[in-house]
């Protein structure tokens, strides 16, 4: 029996919001998620801010904020932060829709703290929310709306009929079955592809599955070179790998910690002498990486963050205000006890810090409401690209995922109402099933985790924070070698299907390869430095011509790259024909 109207893939805030929107409009809605609901996805790791303009914070949410700050200023900061690469229509929607969504969540019991000011925002807009509490609130709404959910279901393929998305296939990990569901509309909300890099702030399941399945179905990916790295995360001991505690105790909370190289030199003045360590995250990550590349790094390949010039009681203040809802007085933060580390910091010891992959600004290209170029296929949240341009400001991810989830859910419903149900072709199902089963049936070959590690090493060394044409050419060759020589030799040591992690690893290798290839190609073709994309061979930003976005598509095994003009109807970059000016309307 196939009577599903809207099928959503992913259970972060974007997926849950999309499912709620569709189900509340009376559509039979199903949600598939690789993890467990409210126990997975990058939303869980939000320990902070969801941005709303100050006026809306005050008038609608009853929070303490700057009433002079309107949607116009929020828009301008977001586009300037994105280095003018943003799709400005998507920015407008995000900014105008986030207030009412947060209001509804507040009415449903979500706790909110007064906004904080993140780097790049001219005033405090980051409404304080716990990601886990947000997920719990959305989970309640999903249950109430009657959405049916299949958890630990790894959606791997979107199936088409005559160019229209009509179904989703994947592995039901708990039973080991391969299943295919038919639906009239499909919303992809699978998050970013941070796992292409060896160190991430993002959860384990963010392997670019949505980028892969959307692009294999014919959808375009936009600006995939724009990967945000979070500076100042821990590398050692390994249990703390990727944890952003130093960042939070420093620049994020507005505390004047200093970045130093191994010689004790403060180096941010070379990059942003005004803001120094309060520069946006893209600039800090590039600066730190350059210090290390030029031989001034620490033993673990990082640089140092130091609070030694500050009186120790200044550090204690940050616990009182910034961390108020997330840090107890004894420096327990997230799941870890940082009291010893803070004691060392107060005694003057610098902490070696590194940058970790944090967020994908690029992703599946969509229109205003989340429709991709494939009829019936929508994308929402981090998997969708374009709204943040070349760099995302702190707190704008929370706004994006909620707004785009709702937009895509509603758009999917509007689409469902005007199309007839079509079937998945049995021959397509057979083809997908066979590909998925292959690693289980091979008797020998290469183990999936080895490919994951090799691919992450390529991404880290050649498509990392600092890139050159040579490094990107090498990466592309490496990725294509893995695809042609290795993907076809992946095997699982056990043919047991039920909850076989090695099988999931094998399928994730394809997601990671597709995502890394698109990222690499986009990075190679953008011969300038802009936002998070830094080319050592083209260190300047090129504003001489019309600004453009890069678009990647896969067809018949070939990867194609095209460009389009940036959708910038309101704000133009400085130096262009139109100086910065807000055109209302």
């Amino acid at each position: 029996m196939s009577d599903i109207d809207v099928l959503v893939i992913g259970s972060g805030a974007a997926g849950l919001t999309a499912a709620v929107a569709a189900a509340e409009m009376g559509q039979k809605t199903v949600l598939l998620t690789k993890g467990q609901v409210a126990r997975s996805g990058a939303t869980a790791t939000i320990t902070g801010d969801i941005c709303v303009d100050g006026r809306t914070c005050v008038d609608l949410l009853g929070l303490k904020a700057d009433h002079q700050d309107t949607e116009d200023e929020f828009f301008e900061d977001t586009v300037m932060g994105g280095k003018f690469l943003n799709d400005q229509r998507l920015v407008e929607v995000m900014i105008s829709e986030i207030g009412p969504i947060l209001k509804r969540l507040k009415d449903n019991g979500l706790r909110m703290g007064d906004p904080i000011r993140g780097p790049g925002h001219r005033t405090a807009r980051g409404v304080w929310v716990s990601g886990m509490e947000l997920l719990q609130t959305l989970r309640k709404l999903v249950i109430r709306a009657g959405v049916k959910v299949r958890e630990e279901f790894f959606a791997t393929d979107v199936l088409l009929n005559d160019g229209v998305a009509v179904g989703v296939a994947g592995i039901d990990q708990r039973t080991g079955d391969i299943l295919c569901f038919e639906a009239k509309a499909i919303v992809i909300a699978t998050g970013g592809g941070m796992m292409i890099y060896p160190m991430q702030t993002a959860p384990e399941e963010l392997t670019g599955d949505g980028h892969s399945l959307a692009s294999r179905a014919g959808a375009q990916l936009i600006d995939m070179e724009m990967v945000q790295f979070l500076p100042c995360v821990l590398t050692d001991p390994p249990i703390w790998r990727g944890i952003q505690f130093p960042w939070l105790l420093g620049p994020q909370s507005g505390v004047r910690a200093w970045l130093l190289n191994r010689f004790g030199e403060r180096f941010m003045d070379k990059w942003d002498p005004v803001n120094m360590e309060f520069a946006t995250r893209d600039i800090i990550s590039i600066a730190c990486t350059k210090e290390v590349m030029e031989g001034r790094g620490g033993p673990n390949g990082g640089v140092f963050l130091s609070w030694a010039h500050l009186p120790s009681n200044i550090i204690d203040f940050s616990a009182e205000w910034y961390f108020r809802t997330h840090l107890s007085g004894d420096w327990q933060w997230e799941g870890f006890d940082f009291s010893n580390l803070v004691e060392e910091i107060k005694n003057g010891r610098a902490v070696e810090v590194n940058s970790a992959s944090h967020f994908f600004m690029g992703g599946v290209a969509t229109d205003l409401v989340g429709a991709t170029s494939v009829p019936g296929l929508f994308a929402a949240g981090e998997v969708a690209g374009g709204v943040h341009g070349a760099n995302r400001l702190s707190g704008n991810a929370g706004s994006q995922i909620l707004v785009q989830g709702q937009q895509a859910g509603k758009a999917a419903v509007a689409y469902v109402k005007k199309v007839d149900r079509r079937r998945v072709l049995p021959s397509d199902w057979e083809r997908v099933r066979e590909v998925l089963e292959t690693p289980l049936k091979r008797e020998s070959g290469i183990m999936p985790f080895e490919i994951k590690e090799e691919l992450q090493a390529i991404a880290n060394l050649k498509v990392g924070i600092v890139r050159t044409a040579d490094s990107l050419d090498e990466a592309l060759a490496g990725v294509r070698r893995l695809r042609s020589d290795v993907l076809s030799r992946l095997y699982c040591r056990s043919s047991e299907r039920r909850y076989n992690k090695e099988w999931a690893d094998a399928v994730e290798c394809r997601s990671l390869l597709d995502t890394l290839e698109a990222t690499t190609l986009c990075a190679l073709r953008r011969c300038e430095s802009r936002g998070a994309h830094y080319r050592d061979d083209f260190p300047g930003q090129n504003d001489s011509g019309k600004l453009w976005n890069g678009l990647v598509s896969f067809s018949e095994g070939e990867i194609n790259y095209t460009t389009r003009s940036v959708r910038s109807h309101r704000l133009s970059p400085p130096g262009s024909a139109n100086q910065i000016s807000i055109k209302k309307g």
């Binding site: 196939s2 869980a44 049916k148 079955d177 090695e502």
Partner: protein, 121 residues
């Protein structure tokens, strides 16, 4: 170092203990240890790992008689890792903490199905 896992249910519905000989994993988390076993020794060892920082709490296991999040506690020699809740077991240390039963999608809603049992002995 050595680690012992409570595993199951196997195909006969039985639970059993299995001890693994491991390299020195000092400084790593219990989640890292489970991942090491699954990747390097036995790919059928199921484990749940998402946020790696004690937030999602779905990696919870029973160690030293207490339920603890595997991603934030250190591995040690002689560790015994058991399920945090025997009523919610999916496989090995993975337990169900997600949606209530009434929200679960019946897999019969699918259009096509290749059942695991078709291929396993």
């Amino acid at each position: 170092m050595r680690a012992t896992l409570m595993r199951g249910p196997d195909r006969n519905g039985q639970f059993y203990r299995q001890t693994f000989e491991l390299p020195d994993l000092v400084g790593l988390s219990v989640s890292n240890l489970l991942q090491h076993i699954s990747r390097h020794i036995d790919g059928t060892v199921a484990y749940y790992l998402s946020c790696r920082r004690g937030l999602c709490a779905a990696c919870v296991v029973r160690v030293d008689g207490r339920n603890q999040k595997a991603c934030v506690i250190p591995a040690f020699d002689g560790i015994v890792i058991e399920q945090a809740n025997t009523k919610l077991i999916i496989k090995d240390t993975v337990i169900h903490l997600g949606m209530p039963r009434k929200s679960e999608l019946n897999p019969r809603n699918c259009a096509f199905r290749a059942a695991a049992s078709d291929d396993n002995d």
